[in-house]
């Protein structure tokens, strides 16, 4: 009995500890991008938007693909002018979530394209981690 109480107490403490230190996610924006057919005009095959990100904030980009069974996997690029500062595709590795700690308040460009020029339907959730 004493052992059970000890285990329960330990688990409670662990859960409490985790909830204190777990990162809270604050939802900022959801980007929806659907490409039904691939165009010969490059810029028609991409999603482009600008977003203001703040210095010191920790952002997370969560990518959900294959909505309505579309084949394309979205590759996101976060750009500061012509500098790529974050992407979810590194060589052959593909990530469905990427984090970015911002060190300069500015407008950044977000570019989304589909891998291998396939049609796709995806959402990207942008959250701040606290």
């Amino acid at each position: 009995m004493r052992r059970t109480i000890l285990v329960v107490a330990f688990l409670s403490a662990l859960i409490g500890f985790n909830s204190v230190f777990a990162q809270k996610e604050i939802f900022i924006k959801q980007i929806e991008f659907k490409l039904e057919r691939v165009s010969e005009v490059d810029y028609e095959n991409e999603y482009f938007m600008t977003i203001k990100l703040n210095k010191g904030s920790n952002y997370k980009f969560k990518i959900t693909n294959h909505r309505d069974n579309y084949a394309g996997k979205a590759v996101m690029e976060l750009m500061d002018a012509d500098n790529l500062i974050l992407t979810n595709q590194l060589n052959d590795k593909y990530f469905e979530a990427v984090n970015f700690i911002c060190n300069k308040t500015a407008f950044y460009d977000i570019l989304i394209r589909y891998k291998d020029k396939k049609p796709g339907n995806s959402v990207i959730d942008i959250v701040i981690l606290q």
């Binding site: 810029y43 991409e46 500062i85």
Partner: protein
């Protein structure tokens, strides 16, 4: 006879004054631009861009130089010749190890043009489409089209390179008389080529090099309406960039453009 001799003397004197006045790319700068050290090339590119019109004739000559100067110190550069991808860095969408293409890259940036140099390194299955879309005069000729179908991938890349060079040479032949960067900027904004529009808008928003005559007053009088119209087009890459320029009420984009880095 006297008149033509006088004219010839004037032309020689004019050319000498251009050179004396620094209106030509200095040899050391040109040699930096064709060097293999990426930071040196990047700095030289910016310096040459600041020369505006004066740098163009020598860049046109470099279009005939097909030598390869493999870039070094490129850890923070993402380009077709990169051997590793680290997930971050400056993106240059040109195969700038080849001097002719490096020159094409700079010419397109100075003049806000789209000659086609970015198509050379595209994936194999996109090359024919690129030629069809970017060089319709070539593609629409049935003999050329048949020839294209028989070409290897390497030959198609070579073809895009030679068509891009021809396009650049044709442009300079037509435009060299009285060309200036400010008119070129407006012409790109007004063109029907979305790549040129984006190049011009990107320059206004992020560019640091000189465009003589581009002042707040000039922008408000001659460019604001064009940018406003572009902010309403469907293509997000165009409209979003245009909107950001319009939102910059303090004209910070203009203060960035100075030849003096201090």
């Amino acid at each position: 006879m006297k008149k033509s001799a006088l004219l010839a003397i004037c032309m020689v004197l004019g050319n000498s004054m251009l050179v004396l006045g620094g209106q030509k790319i200095p040899e050391n700068l040109l040699s930096d631009f064709i060097s293999t050290d990426w930071p040196t090339v990047l700095q030289a590119k910016e310096d040459i861009e600041n020369l505006e019109t004066a740098g163009i004739p020598q860049l046109m000559s470099l279009l005939n130089d097909f030598s390869i100067r493999k870039l070094e110190n490129t850890s923070d550069l993402i380009y077709p010749g990169a051997e590793r991808f680290y997930g971050h860095g400056q993106i240059v969408d040109y195969d700038i190890d080849v001097i002719a293409v490096r020159s094409g890259w700079l010419l397109e940036e100075v003049a806000f043009q789209n000659f086609g140099f970015t198509g050379i390194h595209l994936p194999e299955d996109e090359l024919t489409g690129f030629i069809q879309y970017n060089f319709p005069e070539f593609y629409d000729n049935s003999r050329n089209k048949q020839g294209l179908n028989r070409m290897t991938v390497a030959e198609k890349r070579e073809l895009i390179r030679s068509l891009s060079i021809k396009k650049a040479q044709g442009w300079w032949k037509q435009q060299s008389d009285g060309w200036n960067r400010l008119d070129a900027l407006i012409s790109a904004l007004q063109s029907s080529d979305e790549k040129r529009q984006v190049k011009a808008l990107f320059y206004i928003r992020n560019g640091r090099t000189l465009c003589t005559g581009l002042t707040r007053e000039f922008y408000q009088t001659h460019m604001e309406d064009i940018v406003r119209a572009l902010s309403k087009v469907d293509l997000k890459r165009v409209s979003e960039n245009a909107k950001l320029i319009m939102m910059d009420m303090d004209f910070e984009w203009l203060t960035m453009k100075s030849a003096d880095p201090s």
